[in-house]
């Protein structure tokens, strides 16, 4: 204790005189330094693998690169002109919008219904909150096998059921039809992704205080009125965020479509990511694909801004 006291005095003297033992960094400064060391790996990773490519995307889009690594020359905005004048490009923009709206509509309805069920408090509901995520856990390639099989023309259980119920007379060749193929991939993708939205919606509903509903019941509100005036307003923010995040992720989906239809039949399900992929690697026009990516990113940003303007919940 005496020793400790002495060293304390010594330290104090050093502090005042600025001697060798003076702590150069305060606790906060040490925390900052350690903190930066800890975020550094993540930030570097993001910088190299995500931020840098955005710039090299811009650079590539100004060249006539056909294959990565092959010599190419600067062609200024030619790729952009080609992109903007390309009918297939705008056709795939339109298909992307159909894809987006179909998924958002179907996904939101199914997820909201599921979330309302998950909110019940009995045993099955509590287990379902976890197990509902199964379709999301399954790898996309398995999802593609599942739905190709379910919707198969000859052996698919859905076609067989439709015929037995006399809804259709002949089997539907869903992935072989220009109109139905899009419906098919939307169904498969919704099945894959709705559980995630359902769980997030359930989480938002779960945080609504129960006494709100009790008060509403005492005020005489029926189930629909409770849903309309308590549940919906309470999850408004989450629905908005889900719309934004889910929308951007949906537009970005490549694997589900490519694994099921390869963008076909012909180009019926060729959304933007599929078109860009095909242009870059099948058509071997990397420069053009880069320009398409840049234009697509601009369109996405515009769409997201528009959505935020229109749909953002009002702040009180």
């Amino acid at each position: 204790m005496v020793m400790l006291e002495h060293s304390g005095q010594f330290l104090y003297a050093d502090l005042v005189s600025g001697g060798a033992n003076r702590p150069i960094w305060s606790r906060k400064q040490i925390e900052q330094v350690i903190g930066y060391i800890l975020v550094a790996p993540l930030l570097c990773w993001m910088l190299v693998v995500l931020i840098y490519p955005i710039f090299s995307l811009l650079a590539l889009s100004l060249t006539n690169t056909r294959i990565i690594g092959a010599p190419a020359s600067f062609i200024a905005a030619e790729n952009y002109v080609a992109t903007l004048q390309s009918a297939p490009f705008w056709a795939s923009v339109a298909r992307s919008l159909v894809w987006l709206l179909g998924n958002i509509f179907l996904g939101t309805v199914v997820a909201l219904a599921a979330a309302l069920l998950l909110r019940q408090s009995w045993l099955l509901a509590r287990h379902a909150r976890v197990w509902i995520l199964l379709p999301w856990v399954i790898p996309t390639v398995a999802v593609s096998v599942i739905w190709q099989w379910m919707l198969n023309t000859n052996y698919g259980v859905i076609n067989i059921a439709l015929q037995h119920l006399a809804i259709t007379s002949a089997p539907l060749n869903i992935f072989g039809s220009r109109q139905l193929a899009m419906v098919g991939v939307i169904v498969a993708n919704t099945w894959h992704w709705f559980p995630l939205s359902a769980v997030v919606m359930f989480g938002a509903m779960h945080n609504i205080p129960a006494d709100l509903y009790e008060a509403a019941q005492i005020d005489g509100a029926n189930s629909w009125q409770q849903f309309r005036h308590i549940t919906l307003p309470s999850i408004e923010k989450v629905l908005f965020a889900l719309g934004l995040v889910g929308g951007l992720w949906t537009l970005n989906v490549f694997d589900t479509i490519y694994l099921i239809t390869r963008g076909g039949p012909s180009d019926a399900t060729q959304t933007l990511p599929v078109l860009i992929y095909d242009t870059a690697f099948k058509g071997q026009r990397i420069g053009l694909a880069a320009a398409m990516s840049v234009v697509a990113i601009c369109l996405l940003a515009a769409l997201a801004t528009l959505y935020a303007r229109i749909a953002a919940p009002k702040e009180e």
Binding site: L42, L134, A142, G203, A204, K237, S293, I297
Partner: protein
């Protein structure tokens, strides 16, 4: 509240529909994988395998490269999972607890990045990896997967970090622990559910990733499951039994992991801190 018989019936019907929607398609394919080919393609399908056979699985393991794909997928997913977990957990500590200067800004930037259109970056990332010779390597795949899985993981971790009272941090500081000691001895043990969550997300992300894997990998022996199985789908003659066995088996590791940490993942998603 009392429930009328009609409501009770309705409730069961609705629940049956949900269970059917979630489990039905999975059951249909898994059960078919145990059927003989003749039974699979019968005009009137059978609800369960009348004769349980393992020939589809046997064929998968003896006559295709499936085991190789499975192994590659496991390697890539395990590496992605470990690296992602490590870098996002420590980054989360710096951003959400040490509050480094610019933490709010970083947090927002990461949110923005996780909205980024990943497939649209396929071209430049491919050329970046080509420049450093990582095309056609599993390591290149891991690097890409970590980059894309990390932003969402950091975002998920936020809720878990914020659920730990700051007073625990301060108490440990008063008790004599430095920032790293506090991380190891206070945060890590309490963060276990959060780590379970990001382990699952990173694994699933990598396990299911197709777009980059299909372009970055050329050599057959380096392909991962999504490509390997995808190739079987696209082949001229579709052997459905084989395909369904492959799909069922591809699902298994993800489901097993989910069974262990799934409830933490749900807790992370529903904590309310993720969105809003």
């Amino acid at each position: 509240m009392t429930i009328s018989p009609l409501n009770a019936l309705l409730r069961w019907v609705v629940w049956a529909a949900l269970v059917f929607l979630v489990v039905g398609p999975i059951y249909w394919v898994v059960s078919a994988s145990f059927k003989e080919t003749a039974e699979i393609i019968r005009p009137v399908p059978t609800l369960w395998p009348h004769r349980v056979v393992f020939e589809n699985y046997a064929y998968l393991f003896t006559s295709t490269k499936y085991p190789r794909y499975l192994l590659n997928s496991l390697i890539v997913a395990a590496a992605t999972m470990m690296v992602t977990t490590a870098i996002t957990t420590i980054a989360g500590y710096a951003i959400y607890r040490l509050r480094v200067w610019g933490a709010d800004w970083m947090s927002r930037a990461i949110l923005l990045i996780y909205l980024a259109p990943t497939t649209l970056l396929l071209v430049p990332i491919y050329s970046l990896l080509a420049a450093v010779g990582l095309v056609n390597t599993l390591a290149g795949l891991v690097i890409v997967n970590v980059a894309f899985a990390s932003p969402f993981c950091v975002w998920l971790l936020r809720g878990f970090y914020e659920a730990i009272p700051i007073s625990l941090h301060e108490a440990a500081e008063v008790d004599g622990a430095g920032p790293m000691t506090i991380f190891w001895r206070i945060y890590l043990p309490l963060l276990a559910p959060g780590i379970g969550t990001i382990v699952l997300y990173a694994f699933i992300y990598s396990w299911t990733e197709f777009a980059f894997a299909s372009q970055l990998i050329v050599t057959d022996g380096l392909k991962t499951l999504p490509m390997g199985l995808g190739a079987l789908v696209g082949s001229y003659y579709i052997n459905w039994g084989l395909l369904m066995a492959g799909a069922s088996l591809a699902t298994l590791p993800a489901v097993l992991l989910f069974a262990i940490v799934g409830r933490y993942f749900v807790r992370g998603l529903t904590s309310g801190a993720v969105i809003g």
